[in-house]
Symmetry: C2
Subunit: 433 residues, 2 copies
């Protein structure tokens, strides 16, 4: 399968040729085979006109919890404790394989339709999630997030065994479309068992795995950790060797300047989830400081129970505006920086050869309709992408060379069937008494 | 023309019956003639099925500058002074009637497609803007915003005469679909001529007009005013009788607690423009305090040159999340409060009989598609409207009983012609040397 995009404006995120007008981008198999302003050699199965459209790398959502889409808006309006204890935890307690699959397929449909081609997930029921990812055709870094509330041999935990089975079955699947990451849920859900951190850090080294952890999302979480251990979560985990393969630190709202230096040294990515952090009243991560310290910053939606959307364009816009308002610096976090967070930086975070339109990169691409009134006129393509687009302006989503969504139609997901499974099983099973 | 919406979920914003399921809403002429869960009497020209959809009042955008849509994204990435002096002011200097009309029609298309049925505008070239509003079918409070840089008889200013002509020609037009408001641009663009404030305040009383003013948008504007007059802008204008008919105070980022008390007493609405205030690095208005003081708070996008979108759903979501994050209170500004700001509060701000689905209210209504993956599942309709919707989920927009937009088609605006006028005239005229 060879596909040619022609006459397109390409926002490449490649510093050597950032924006190309009237460009040609060719895809062969899983990869981008040509990028330029002259027509490429070769014959193509399909040619897609890009007139009036912008081609950019598919977006990387570097932190979410896919099945929690089932709980979109559930318990809204409560304070955090009531929301968790009276709504989210009881609902999660009733999850089963079928409902997780329904919720995950729904999440993937939403992500794909709004331009995300790669997602990092932390949850449980991971084999079910992997099956959905397989079907949907999206790229995913999946992790069985580990918690531990007592001192024990972590390798004897059921969840550890699930993680190992997940790794054996799915890591590297379909030319690396699915990767399995290691994950500690957080310090506050594992401090009884520091052996977990050390053992998992070594396991990640031996299995060449990335690491996903919730870090300093709330002030109390951050301060309780310092109180318990005399160290911040980032530094504590470093002491136990959790970051030997780098990793993805979700939230980082309260990380210190020293944490930022350590993150830059260790190659730890801060995943900024601006909307979730606002909605849960956690606070506002100091992204300009993270950037100044040389930390790789990626973007995530977090689970939509606390967002309540998987639209990465919302996170891009918020990342590019929130810090201007907070620091009162109109130059803080530019459109280009926010777009980088959602593309190249996300790819670096998840250790993937994507996030850029360049020869040899994975063909994860989206087409955005720039003829919509909301995207007219276009004085600056990156400004319009960052500040004027939303996920509904995405017309085509391609992952690894496969078109997953085009003109409102899903090509890998049977949306009607997903909606039936939700209505007939998942929602009654979980939410009705 | 009589239209019946049936089998719809109605988010009415009417406290006596806030949310109705399987509801019927009938429209006759300009008004809502029936709201209930039983089929109404009468025959209807058209019946619209609301299955899977939510009917809500059309959104009220209480502060924008329509023609500035021409400058969407122009000079992005600059600091404020360069943006204004090198980009916006030179572009505005080249505006003419034809380009203003092209930009305004584009703005109205974007507003209508994303669910806004009433808009408050402050600009010049107001007769051109009114002609566009007439064509498009939207409701609008138009104001010729006055500035004055020297002491003079304000009634002798050209702009004053334009305001009077605008009022004579357009105020009350088409059953009040167009209203003409009085407007002082701001204290910092009129302090040389306090007579303007007094004369205009009296003029508004005599003409039964609303008042639109930029208030305390930036810290320097607010503090310079105190330095010049020993009073805040709100209090200063009050001393000169500018608020005798109430009014709309756009931004209010730096208003004091005393200002808030005065605003509540005088019936002055604070128009919160959260995205513009972030993007221009102005700061964050203390909306929870405004609400606590009993101030009516409405929402606006501001001109899209500083947003860069006219999608009111973005403002609703930001208003309902930003203050949670800033105050670290997950109960700050609920979904319902943010929706109220964009509907009933906006209607009160602009002194219009709209913003609510109730018998006798103006038939300004929108249908939102709740079958989209992004709006599934729906545990709470208001939560999904506030946190999961964007303007692209709007399927139908009706103003004063007339359908302006349905399933992607504009019924009053020739979008192709608008795009031609932009491309062939407005953009080359303004932006090319």
């Amino acid at each position: 399968m060879a596909i040619l995009f022609e006459q397109v404006t390409a926002v490449t995120m490649d510093p050597t040729q950032p924006i190309l007008h009237n460009a040609y981008v060719a895809v062969e198999g899983n990869s981008i085979s040509y990028v330029g302003t002259q027509p490429p050699q070769g014959t193509f199965t399909r040619t897609i006109s890009g007139a009036g459209k912008v081609l950019m790398p598919g977006l990387v959502n570097a932190h979410t919890h896919l099945p929690m889409t089932l709980m979109r808006g559930y318990g809204g309006g409560c304070d955090l404790q009531h929301w968790l204890n009276d709504y989210i935890f009881p609902a999660e307690d009733k999850l089963d394989s079928r409902s997780v699959k329904a919720g995950t397929m729904l999440a993937l449909a939403e992500l794909i339709a709004s331009g995300t081609t790669c997602v990092a997930d932390m949850y449980y029921f991971c084999d079910d999630i992997a099956q959905c990812v397989d079907t949907a055709g999206i790229n995913a870094n999946l992790s069985r997030s580990l918690v531990c509330f007592q001192e024990q041999d972590p390798t004897q935990m059921e969840s550890w065994k699930e993680m190992e089975a997940l790794y054996e079955k799915w890591n590297g699947y379909d030319h690396g479309r699915i990767l399995v990451d290691a994950s500690v849920h957080a310090e506050y859900t594992s401090f009884a068992c520091p052996a977990l951190w050390e053992t998992l850090g070594n396991w990640a080294v031996n299995h060449h795995c990335n690491m996903q952890v919730h870090i300093s999302e709330t002030q109390s979480e951050h301060e309780d950790c310092i109180h318990r251990h005399g160290k911040t979560p980032i530094a504590l985990f470093d002491q136990y060797g959790l970051w030997q393969t780098g990793g993805v630190a979700a939230h980082c709202v309260y990380v210190s300047e020293e944490d930022m230096d350590l993150m830059a040294q260790r190659g730890i990515t801060a995943v900024h989830n601006p909307m979730s952090n606002l909605k849960l009243a956690s606070g506002i991560a100091r992204v300009p400081s993270l950037l100044k310290h040389g930390v790789n910053v990626a973007l995530g939606t977090d689970g939509v129970a606390s967002n309540n959307s998987h639209d990465m364009f919302e996170e891009i816009k918020l990342a590019a505006t929130l810090h201007k308002g907070v620091t009162r610096d109109p130059m803080a976090v530019s459109a280009h920086e926010a777009l980088s967070m959602a593309t190249v930086n996300g790819a670096a975070a998840l250790k993937r050869n994507t996030g850029m339109i360049a020869e040899g990169k994975q063909a994860d691409l989206i087409l955005v309709d720039f003829t919509a009134p909301a995207l007219t006129p276009c004085h600056d393509v990156e400004e319009n992408l960052a500040f004027s687009s939303n996920g509904s302006h995405v017309q085509l989503t391609m992952a690894m060379g496969q078109i997953l969504y085009e003109n409102g139609q899903f090509l890998t997901i049977d949306l009607e069937q997903v909606q039936h499974k939700l209505k007939d099983y998942a929602l009654p099973h979980i939410f009705q008494k």
